[in-house]
């Protein structure tokens, strides 16, 4: 019986709203925009955050990465003679880390350079990464076929290499790369294995002030080829030479990057400070940068949290404004229907019947606005991803939250007009024009 009355009341509310379609639509716009913008912005923020966190995670959460950075103070003031500028991480540093820092699992030195790789008549630009056999332990790279570099390759400085999926796809298409040769800078390298790609941008390169590569490409964009560090040194050397106005400026760097993997997360802060103190002692200039992916992850999460709070506040304000608009319209509606309210009271309606009638109208308005807002809010991220390739993620939580809040706004801002309606004097109401 109660259900029947509720159903009738809701039907009546719907009829009233339908009779004033334009007014009802305009009234809900505030809620529609509020809900839509919350969902869309949260989705964009979530997508960006997930992408950032995934990239950071690929760097390895138990890693501490030290990068070579070109010191800012060494712009050569000497413009008359040839100069040789040596800076950055060294093999001694790597060895020092391995021997000095406790609880370190692995130390991986690295050197990277962008080059052109050839197979038959196909070519692709990629990064040549000179590193050690235990490189996969500190990254998310996994062997798909064949094998990675081995200690024997290192010892004998063999011209062998391991390519990643992207390079395999671009250079070899349907041929099997294993056992074939790829030509880089005039030399041939035998492919012994294929690994997974690291993914999009190498986030670390955005943090490093300068990379010593001749082309400052974001590595990973077109794939990596891994060769032994020792081989790398032999073929590519450690120097980059620049001629400026007849003067020869040489930059020499032993290692571009050393990745240190610790055993457990709680050892990261200690390891980081030990690393920094070692480097402070052994380097006389700030030609390095310590990157802790775990901290970056924490910062990314914190940024996202702040972003969500800011977003939530904006949404709250817009929903508040929307709710006030609705309350205003409902008060006007109550005023318009004073006579009707009086008649209903005369016919036996109790105060709570009137409250339920008008409250349900308001809640229907806000929930309709909420639903439209949800529909729009889900569509917008879809188009954003489609046309700008930015990842977005509409979370179920944001939808439920948006819907719940629109209902809550309806009840909150509908209560006062409904109360006003219910407490009008029936006699006065019947006299009303």
């Amino acid at each position: 019986m109660f259900l029947y009355r509720l159903k009738r009341t809701i039907k009546l509310g719907g009829k009233s709203l339908w009779m004033h379609r334009l007014r009802s639509t305009l009234t809900t716009l505030g809620i529609v925009f509020g809900v839509c913008s919350v969902i869309a912005m949260l989705a964009i923020g979530e997508g960006a955050s997930q992408q950032a966190q995934a990239q950071i995670a690929k760097l390895g959460s138990t890693n501490v990465i030290v990068k070579t950075v070109k010191p800012t103070a060494t712009q050569s003031t000497n413009t008359e003679t040839d100069t040789v500028n040596q800076y950055g991480l060294t093999y001694d540093d790597a060895e020092g880390f391995r021997q000095t820092i406790p609880n370190v699992d692995v130390v991986v030195p690295l050197y990277r350079m962008t080059q052109q790789a050839w197979y038959r008549n196909r070519t692709v630009q990629m990064d040549v990464v000179g590193t050690v056999p235990w490189y996969p332990e500190v990254t998310s790279v996994r062997i798909i076929r064949g094998r990675f570099l081995s200690p024997q390759d290192m010892d004998y400085q063999q011209n062998i290499c391991v390519i990643d999926e992207q390079v395999a796809d671009k250079l070899f298409v349907v041929d099997d790369p294993i056992g074939k040769d790829v030509k880089i800078k005039g030399a041939y390298y035998l492919i012994v294995g294929i690994v997974t790609s690291l993914g999009a941008t190498n986030l670390g390169s955005e943090d490093a002030a300068n990379m010593i590569a001749t082309d400052t490409h974001e590595s990973g964009l077109t794939g990596n080829i891994y060769i032994c560090l020792s081989t790398f040194k032999n073929i590519f050397g450690e120097e980059v030479v620049q001629y400026t106005g007849g003067i020869r400026q040489t930059e020499r760097v032993e290692l571009q990057e050393i990745t240190v993997k610790v055993r457990t997360l709680d050892q990261i802060p200690v390891t980081k400070s030990i690393l920094e103190s070692i480097l402070e002692r052994t380097h006389n200039q700030k030609d390095y940068q310590v990157v802790v992916p775990f901290e970056l992850l924490r910062q990314a999460r914190e940024s996202k949290r702040i972003f969500s709070i800011v977003l939530g506040s904006i949404a709250a304000i817009s929903l508040l404004v929307g709710g006030i608009g609705i309350m205003n319209i409902m008060l006007a509606s109550v005023s318009e229907r004073t006579r009707e309210i009086g008649v209903r009271r005369a016919l036996g309606a109790k105060r709570r019947d009137i409250i339920i009638q008008f409250l349900s109208e308001t809640v229907m308005l806000t929930m309709a606005g909420g639903l439209i807002g949800i529909a729009l809010g889900t569509l917008i991220p879809y188009f954003v991803t489609k046309y700008s390739n930015m990842p977005t993620d509409v979370t179920a939580l944001s939808l439920i939250l948006a819907f719940g809040i629109s209902a809550a706004v309806g009840v909150t801002f509908g209560l006062y007009p409904a109360y006003r309606a219910a407490h009008m004097d029936p006699i006065e109401s019947l006299r009303h024009e």
């Binding site: 029947y4 009271r345 005369a346 016919l347 036996g348 109790k350 105060r351």
Partner: protein, 230 residues
């Protein structure tokens, strides 16, 4: 049996420091099945008496028995319930609800008494037929003539089988022909045993009642016994 009994009924309005007495020490009884008219000049207290009898307002003092119940000091909720269950209203300007069709309008009092959907619909159809409305039942009030709207209002007033029906100038907004039709319907209600109280200015309306209570300045000036056939 006395359906309505008011004793020493007073109603005053308190306006700041000034008290305005509108109904003064009234004693009145209505019998079941009676057709009575309440008449008087403006300011005589007709509307106020109607409001008190209709449980839209509480008396300042005195008592009001409707049926077997003293309704002089009930809460708002109780008054609402009594109105819906025991009193039927017919207004001068019909006061139908514009968003509802005829059947739905007739069903409104039953809705507030918690009757089921089927019951409401069935009874509304019966009442519509009783007042001579058989077609256009899904039409809205604005699609009907004044006379038709008042018929709907009469049907509505009968919805919960009330003890009394209160009519405030029922033919006030109607032309003479429609007015006559309505009065005929009201007469037939009385013949069926309904108790009808009509408040009116119109002497022509008044003389159709069995008894006319003349009010003046909040008192009962005189009671005129009409007899049904005179």
């Amino acid at each position: 049996m006395a359906i309505v009994k008011i004793e020493k009924l007073c109603k005053s309005y308190f306006l700041g420091t000034y008290t305005l007495p509108v109904l003064k020490d009234m004693d009145l009884t209505f019998e079941e099945g009676e057709y009575a008219a309440i008449m008087g000049p403006s300011g005589s207290g007709k509307s106020t008496l109607l409001n008190v009898l209709g449980c839209l307002d509480r008396p300042t003092s005195g008592s009001y028995f409707l049926g077997d119940r003293d309704v002089s000091n009930l809460s708002d909720d109780e008054l609402s319930f009594i109105r819906g269950q025991r009193i039927g209203f017919i207004f001068q300007s019909y006061n139908l609800i514009p968003q509802l069709n005829i059947i739905e309008n007739i069903a409104v009092p039953m809705f507030y008494q918690g009757k089921s959907e089927d019951f409401c619909h069935q009874r509304a159809l019966e009442l519509a037929e009783m007042v001579g409305l058989t077609d256009r039942l899904t039409h809205r009030p604005y699609e009907l003539s004044g006379g038709q709207q008042q018929r709907v209002a009469i049907a509505r007033s009968l919805a919960n089988d009330p003890l009394i029906i209160l009519a405030d100038e029922p033919t006030g907004n109607l032309d003479s022909e429609s007015g006559r039709d309505i009065l005929k319907i009201l007469n037939s209600l009385c013949e069926q045993g309904k108790t009808l109280l009509v408040v009116t200015h119109d002497a022509g309306v008044g003389k159709r009642a069995e008894r006319i209570i003349h009010l003046l300045d909040g008192y009962i000036e005189r009671i005129e016994n009409n007899g049904h056939k005179e």
